[in-house]
Symmetry: C2
């Protein structure tokens, strides 16, 4: 019995190995430095005879989401969710209709897109707490899913969840096929991203690390327990908060990490500072035709959403991080192209 | 090619299935209600034709650690670590030698075990912050591992990490073999448990949810980044804090959960309140001969460490939770027996 099983397993391994060697795991990537670096990293960390071999249990890959795995322009999807949740909030509490920032949001939604510039960061935080907390985690999850099913990006007229980058989807699959556990590490809301991460990226909720508010355990009138989302930020998953959250939620240093803006810098530093083979990568949005072009690095237009400053570009070059040029490195950007 | 691969895969499946059916997955359990309930739960949630079938991605199992997976008497292992870390602390800051609670700990370590009763909960919290924070996460991890390699339980004269319950190790393996992802959800320190969870339980660090302090990202003089453990509790993973931490760190409700004391009650309630097949279980320490006997449930002796009150026992019986009698349900307690 054991012999038959062994032969079957060996046959599978051999055939599996052959099949893999014959297929390009990253067909949407042009043959450039970025693709080469990713493939070399995977070989260096998964070939058993490699001096920088990493045991499967320690293969951790982390990905920022907005601007790294999917489109973040003209505005982060979750901010659109927050803004578009305001009318329901105002319906429940009509006195808010004349109070800023709620009144400003109502103007924006009526078509005055320029009014969006009036919103300050404290405004956005106030709106976020008002629309993302104060309900049970199940209610929030249902509302977010309902919105995601109906909402459409203004340029492509497609659900936001279809605006993921095909080359990055290939990297996720390629790393997983090589024993890597893939994690999202996003400044966005953990509960929001978890509603679609499995369907959209093949990443289960427990592998989504994001900004998170605290919850409180309680009981309804029938004695059934539930968790309420509280207006208190517990994890701010940006900048230094990214390695801190990685330690809290994963407990291991990543071997490879992807980002696209200064909020990812510390995660990429932390990754690169580990021993053995480590790879840090940044997506540069330099493709106005197929997606968007913004920097201000490399004289690309400046932006308030997901900026990539020249200082970050210079640091990447100095420290051996890979800058992925959307224009030059990606053969295709979206699956629907 | 595809046909050969398919035949090989089919052969593996058939042989694998036969092998599993022939072997008792829980050989250290007596054939009683507890074993029956666990096996029935696994069959009900993993048989594709079962009305309560659970897709593999949603199979989450959570385990308290102290008193559920390993021995917690006469004192939690991590409290021993905290106490035994005090001499090094006093060596670095000699002025602490005459200040309570440090002076009390020095008395205890000199052999005055009765002095342990003098330590209050605020004392323990103070000692915990003094010995578990203020260093880098890597330094803490190295110190904890050094202690665990040398420290011995006073009764069995074995490393604490050998004092895990064999029947529970079998449950962990049995659930994993059936597609469950196993998590530790402990009131103990997350960073402490993560240093040995993989080796001892086959549970990787990212599947350990515990009480956790915040960390701060910074740089050493050479510019190398590191994380410092701060004396600020971020996650208190006890009572209502358990389902709250499960939501934060896992994001799904468990289908099966194990505990042994009131700190686990809310996790077991939360688990049981989900739809479909859910199982909540409590370990009752009623075996003074092979381990310890403490309640005060069922007229067992009372204790300050891991008490199991009668009210919890009554709630378990009322709500259909399973109480595991160490004496009656476990054929063997330890692997070294």
């Amino acid at each position: 019995m054991k012999t038959i099983r062994f032969i079957a397993a060996a046959a599978l391994l051999v055939l599996g190995g052959t099949a893999q060697a014959q297929t390009d795991p990253l067909p949407s990537w042009n043959d450039g430095a970025a693709k080469k670096a990713i493939v070399a990293f995977v070989n260096a960390t998964t070939t058993p005879t490699s001096p920088t071999f990493v045991p499967p249990a320690e293969r951790i890959a982390t990905f920022d989401q907005d601007g790294t795995l999917w489109v973040e322009h003209p505005m982060y999807s979750q901010v659109m969710y927050i803004l578009e949740s305001v009318p329901a909030l105002v319906k429940a509490k009509p006195e808010l209709a004349k109070v800023a920032p709620y009144s400003t949001v109502l103007e924006i939604l009526k078509g005055d897109r320029a009014a969006i510039a009036k919103l300050t960061l404290p405004d956005l935080e106030k709106l976020a707490m008002a629309t993302l907390t104060g309900m049970s985690v199940d209610t929030f999850s249902a509302e977010a899913q309902r919105w995601l099913a109906a909402a459409k990006d203004p340029r492509w007229k497609k659900p936001y969840t279809e605006l993921t980058y095909l080359p990055m989807q290939e990297v996720l699959k390629y790393l997983r096929a090589n024993g890597y556990k893939t994690f999202i590490v996003t400044g966005g809301g953990q509960d929001f991203v978890r509603t679609y991460s499995e369907r959209v990226y093949g990443i289960p909720p427990e592998q989504v690390v994001g900004s998170a508010v605290g919850t409180t355990y309680g009981y309804d009138k029938a004695g059934k327990p539930f968790l309420t989302k509280e207006p208190k930020l517990l994890v701010n998953d940006n900048n230094g908060g990214k390695p801190e959250a990685i330690h809290l939620m994963i407990g291991r240093r990543p071997h490879i990490a992807f980002g696209n803006s200064p909020g990812d810098q510390q995660m990429l530093e932390y990754t690169k500072a580990g021993d053995g083979a480590r790879l840090s990568l940044l997506v540069l949005h330099d493709d106005a035709k197929r997606e968007y072009a913004y920097g201000p690095a490399q004289k690309l237009p400046d932006t308030k959403v997901g900026a990539f400053p020249q200082a970050l570009y210079d640091k990447a070059k100095k420290d051996g991080w890979i800058v992925i040029s959307m224009k030059d490195d990606w053969k295709r950007v979206f699956a629907f192209e």
